[in-house]
């Protein structure tokens, strides 16, 4: 039997893959949040950043190739994250055929109990978000190449901003448990530094949630227009 098969077949191997792909996806949302903050620097800077993502590495890398390689990597990470989750979920689903009359709730918080629900919310939102901001087919006034306009016009709609905010908060809960859980699944523990894993998870969760939420708030209050 090949080593990779032994690894993947194990529930722990799948958890480690969830942690590694989760790390990739977390790295993406964090840099995406930082990139979004460029909206505060004005239309020119923001659009140059959007175009910069397409022309990254030029002339060595042809125009758009870097972005597509990046997207394929992200889609691959998402597929592995979801497939291993579905396989593990099926395993857990059968593990307690009859539940407790009195619910056992010794878990340490809401975030760990809402991982699967949060994941579904996030994936659904990402599908909508791509149609809204990247493809533009559900956007009221989508202009190809004018990311700043698409952002500002897109978030001027109150329901859109509310749905976005709910998704960002769901992402926050997911990251709060997910980042800590990643350290644990990857076996990254040391008696001296263990308590810092929760601190790290909370700090990055707050950074991502606050960073993302500043955009619709700034648009609603006219700071970005």
């Amino acid at each position: 039997m090949s080593r990779v098969f032994v690894f993947y077949r194990s529930s722990i191997g799948k958890k480690i893959l969830m942690a590694l792909t989760g790390l990739v996806l977390f790295g993406f949302v964090f840099t995406h949040m930082l990139g979004n903050l460029k909206a505060f620097l004005g239309a020119e800077e923001f659009n140059a950043y959007a175009e910069g993502l397409r022309s990254f590495g030029a002339p060595l890398i042809p125009h758009g190739y870097f972005l597509w390689a990046f997207r394929i990597g992200l889609i691959g990470a998402l597929i592995v994250h979801v497939v291993t989750m579905v396989q593990l979920w099926a395993m857990a689903g059968g593990a307690r055929p009859k539940g407790y009359k009195q619910a056992v709730h010794l878990e340490d918080g809401v975030s760990s109990r809402t991982m699967r629900l949060g994941g579904i919310v996030i994936v659904s939102f990402v599908a909508y978000h791509l149609m809204h901001m990247t493809i533009g087919n559900v956007h009221p006034n989508f202009i190809v190449g004018d990311a700043y306009n698409n952002l500002v016009v897109g978030f001027q709609s109150v329901p859109v901003a509310v749905v976005y905010s709910i998704a960002v908060i769901a992402l926050g809960f997911h990251l709060h448990h997910g980042i800590w859980s990643m350290f644990q699944s990857l076996g990254m523990n040391h008696l001296k530094y263990n308590h810092l894993r929760r601190v790290f998870a909370l700090a990055f969760t707050i950074a991502v949630v606050v960073g993302f939420l500043t955009i619709p708030v700034a648009i609603a209050t006219g700071i970005i227009q």
Binding site: Y100, Q102, V104, H105, G187
Partner: protein
């Protein structure tokens, strides 16, 4: 004191099972929880009814036989004790107490509150042997063990295999149990030769028993009467990765 007990009654593994209500008077707050159940059973026997089946052996918290879920908490509401170490003074007069067996596919109900925990034995069995020199008794301290490793190995070895971790886990996962069994040998020099292959085979057996997987909730360590830490789960994850990918 008087209490109301809602007890899970199930004749055998195939029986549907149901809660039955018992109003128990004359409960002394100095009674242990199991003594209170003994009194209940005596009155049931006197009435010609079937007594409530529950497991117990040492009644001093070291054998791991007596687990049950008491009002939503494995081994009851107190931390770091087993059911037999719980006393009725932890409950208030007139309280309604729900008694349920460990609920997991890998722990089929034998009768009432008794479950079959052989699945845990099968995990231990698949750990196999450790390579040690046999023959004349070795000199004391011939193998040096760092103090911190000795302490951590001992903490892991404190696991009594009661199954509270599985009962508490929202996924009915046996990761805390397995990690403790893997760690108490894996932390010692005597356990090194088969350290990684042992982790791989014990996890494979664990996965086959019908337990769920670990989502790092930490409910297990809260429920554990021996306060075993989920740090050992992180160590197991590491050993499994090394073992599986190196072909151990």
């Amino acid at each position: 004191m008087k209490i109301t007990l809602q007890v899970w009654r199930q004749a055998n593994a195939n029986d549907e099972g149901r809660f039955e209500t018992y109003h128990q008077g004359g409960v002394n707050e100095e009674m242990s929880f199991l003594e209170m159940l003994d009194v209940l059973n005596e009155s049931l026997i006197n009435e010609g009814k079937e007594p409530v089946a529950f497991e117990s052996d040492c009644r001093e918290g070291i054998c791991g036989a007596c687990g049950m879920v008491i009002s939503g908490s494995p081994h009851g509401p107190k931390k770091a004790i087993t059911t037999c170490q719980l006393h009725m003074r932890s409950f208030s007069d007139g309280e309604e107490i729900w008694l349920e067996p460990w609920r997991a596919k890998a722990f089929p109900v034998v009768k009432d509150l008794v479950v079959d925990r052989s699945s845990l034995d099968r995990i231990v069995e698949s750990g196999g042997f450790i390579s040690v020199r046999t023959g004349s008794a070795p000199d004391a301290n011939a193998i040096a063990v760092p103090k911190s490793n000795a302490d951590r190995a001992f903490d892991a070895a404190a696991c009594i295999g009661c199954g509270a971790c599985v009962a508490a886990c929202p996924n009915a996962s046996a990761m805390l149990f397995t990690s403790a069994k893997v760690a108490h040998l894996g932390l010692l020099p005597q356990g090194q030769p088969e350290r990684f292959s042992r982790a791989v085979s014990m996890v494979a057996t664990m996965d086959q028993q019908g337990f769920g997987y670990c989502t790092n909730h930490g409910a297990c360590q809260t429920a554990c009467p021996k306060e075993i830490s989920i740090d050992l789960i992180a160590m197991l994850n590491r050993d499994l990765a090394i073992g599986a990918l190196s072909g151990a």
